[in-house]
Amino acid sequence: MPYLVRRAGHSAIMLLVVVSFVFFAGRMIGDPAIVMLGASASDTALEQLRNNLGLNDPLLMQYFRYVGGLVQGDLGVSFRYGFAQMPAERFMDGGGTPVMGLVLARLPQTLYLAAVALGGALALALVMGCLAAMYPRSWIDHLVNVLSLASVSVVQFWLGLVLIVLFAVHLGWLPTGGYGSWYHVILPALALGARPLGRVAQVTRSAMLDEMARPYVAAARAKGLPEHRIVSVHALKNAGIPVVTITGDELVQLVTGAILVETVFGWPGIGHLLVEALNNRDLPVLQGAILAVATLVIVVNLLVDITYTYLNPKVSLSSREN
């Protein structure tokens, strides 16, 4: 148990580092008041906004206030979101849209997309990897190898565009984008799932090949076990460790991939929000979205590490000792 507690501690520290980075780096672009109101704003307006937002306090104090706000679930407010124009007066009376609400509204869509993409990719990849490992150097192996490398080599947003051209524009089978019923998710999930599919299949294949060459497999054959049990129980359990690692890793990459894929498909997820914030130079939303994604990723990593201890008896033992 201490191991998990320590591991969770690491995650908390990581989160704090990201928060600090996001806060201080955000300040590096310049005076937030100017960023918000634009260079043409009057001095009095700027000064008033600074007072309102507490920008005249010492930086460290602002930082602590920011962290304090985060702890209470306050990610700041956006002054651009939801307004076509930016009436400067809005800033003055403390209005604006809370970022937390924006993020929470977008998060489920991203998780939904990621789950569909990864779930499909994982299932297919495991089958592909195991098949390739069972018939090494056969045509199946070659096909799996080339297919998985191809899906790793593709740029996700481009794949999205090509899918749109093919299935939405030319064939008209599926919608070009948006969010709605189940068929809206197909194209984005395909575009997003390609990379994890390739990576997991590759790792499964090579891990399985390594395991099948290990002496315990020969021993298992020698004692007369049927081949399917050797592959599905003996080898797969040991190959599981690298596969879980890469899956966790890909989950992290998936979130980044989602930024572009959501943009291409107009999928109302957190990635889309992030790109909008980038284009609007809307710092609070950008910071909020980055923090949300980072938190997600850190939690995923924590879960992956916990899974290890169940897969590998040695890890759990040594963590108990050390």
Binding site: H10, M14, V17, V18, V22, A25, G26, M28, I29, P136, R137, H142, N145, V146, L149, A150, V152, S153, V154, V155, Q156, F157, W158, L159, L161, V162, I164, V165, V169, Q202, L209, D210, A213, V252, Q253, V255, T256, I259, L260, L274, V275, L278, L286, I290, V293, A294, V297, I298, N301
Partner: protein, 332 residues
């Protein structure tokens, strides 16, 4: 009893030739043959897919390096009269556009060749810089251990558990896009990959007896790291390098798509897709072709890296290096 047995079986001294004479005659046939480059080359030629990948990369490299001389048109030459010409079309002026023209009438093939220059060189430069940094830190961390290793590896763990493209976006948002900023950001983000690999390889090598032997011989730490450790991890690091180039080419495309790449009018593959996106319904080739270039380059790099890994892997290499069976027919 045993003594007697021993005496009995002792051969007649006159029959025994001197040991040296006997051993000397053996030498030439006795040395194990070397895995020469010929064997690797033969394996490469027998593997058609990898061979095509290698040839494709050579063509890419040549057209990127020689874009200034080989490209049929000036990539930034605007020709409003001949916009959106599909591939394989001829202008009224008799200019042939193999891959068509874009929304400003610029030649797509020429832009692709110049774009290759940017995209591939960013990939290489980023991988080289991050490799140098990461490998240096990784070897030192793995060899010296202690506090330095703790700090470096904590850093690596931390950075690797964050979505790198997201951080890159945020940093570029702050410092602005452009060629060198991209390389800088890639270096800053990707060194951890090399560092982790170099460290784990160093840790494996560190316990090898030849490192102990070098220490007993009195070699300095610098000499051990440079002469004994580094040369023994070239193969896996080269594989990693190749993969990283592919990843960085893809990343460049993504960042360019979001507007953080090289500035217009210069072309990079990512920018070309981004600007072609608005015309996706009318001019499919503007999006498809640069994407295809990225895809094929990355695929070729990945194929080559995979092949190198298989060939240099001690467990599976012989299977890959063994020529396809001919002696069967001979036998049967």
């Amino acid at each position: 009893m045993t003594q007697k047995l021993l005496a009995k079986t002792e051969p007649d001294p006159s029959v025994v030739p001197t040991q040296n004479a006997n051993v000397e005659g053996l030498y030439d046939e006795e040395r194990a043959p070397k895995l020469t480059w010929k064997i690797y080359l033969r394996a490469l030629f027998s593997d058609r897919v990898t061979l095509i990948a290698a040839l494709f990369l050579i063509i890419m490299a040549v057209s990127a390096l020689g874009a200034q001389f080989l490209a049929p048109f000036d990539p930034n030459q605007i020709d409003i009269m001949n916009r959106f010409m599909p591939p394989l079309s001829m202008t009224d002026a008799g200019q042939f556009h193999l891959l068509g023209t874009d929304q400003l009438g610029r030649d797509v093939l020429s832009r692709l060749m110049h774009g290759a220059q940017v995209s591939i060189s960013i990939g290489f430069l980023g991988a080289i810089c991050s490799g140098l940094l990461g490998i240096t830190l990784g070897i030192i961390a793995g060899y010296k251990r202690g506090l330095f290793e703790d700090i470096v590896m904590r850093l690596v763990d931390g950075m690797q558990s964050l979505p790198s493209l997201l951080i890159a976006l945020f940093v570029l948002f702050i410092i602005g896009g452009g060629y060198f900023n991209l390389v800088l950001v890639f270096t800053f983000l990707q060194w951890t990959v090399f560092c982790r690999m170099a460290r784990s390889l160093t840790l494996n090598l560190r316990d090898s007896n030849f490192i102990s032997a070098a220490r007993v011989l009195g070699c300095t730490d610098a000499r051990i790291m440079l002469r004994h450790i580094l040369p023994n991890m070239v193969a896996p690091l080269m594989v990693l390098f190749t993969l990283e180039v592919a990843i960085l080419i893809l990343s460049e495309a993504s960042l360019s798509f979001l507007g953080f790449g090289v500035q217009p009018p210069n072309a990079s593959w990512g920018r070309m897709i981004a600007s072609g996106r608005d015309h996706i319904n009318t001019a499919w080739w503007l999006v498809t072709l640069p994407g295809l270039a990225i895809f094929l380059t990355a695929l070729a790099l990945n194929l080559l890296a995979g092949w190198c890994r298989a060939v240099s892997d001690p467990v599976h290499s012989s299977r890959w290096l063994t020529p396809k069976r001919k002696q069967n027919k001979q036998e049967g």
